[in-house]
Symmetry: C2
Subunit: 87 residues, 2 copies
Amino acid sequence: MYVIVIYDVESKKCNKLHKYLKRKLNWTQNSIFEGDITKAERVIIKNDLKKLINPKEDSVIIYDLPDKRWINREILGKERNPHQNII
Amino acid sequence: MYVIVIYDVESKKCNKLHKYLKRKLNWTQNSIFEGDITKAERVIIKNDLKKLINPKEDSVIIYDLPDKRWINREILGKERNPHQNII
């Protein structure tokens, strides 16, 4: 399965989430990560994220897609991570 | 087609983009919008966004999906827009 993870957390927690997600997924732009993972890996990521965030303040969105071939990504303006622009 | 639009722009431009996208798509969370649109509408949105942003400073990501049935969205933590939580 393919996931897109977007986080919106307190600024002091950004670095922690970025570091964590960088080990698990590919960084797309700012607070957006993507990756091809197994269902088991998704469970681990979800559980870890729940521990890392404060549910009253922070939020993380996980989009699940059956396959990365079904999505196309287009970036307008500045590219923050041009090396991973092609899915 | 179904699109997910995520913007990262200078704070003074956030309101302008939010207002624009709210007229065209459904607001999901913070700087994330989604919606079922035609290819012609996508062209208009892309062109309008290109005019609204500064390509040297801002960035907008557009994910295209053939159909919203292919994606599942899960929100961890705080829901910013609970009324539109179901795709």
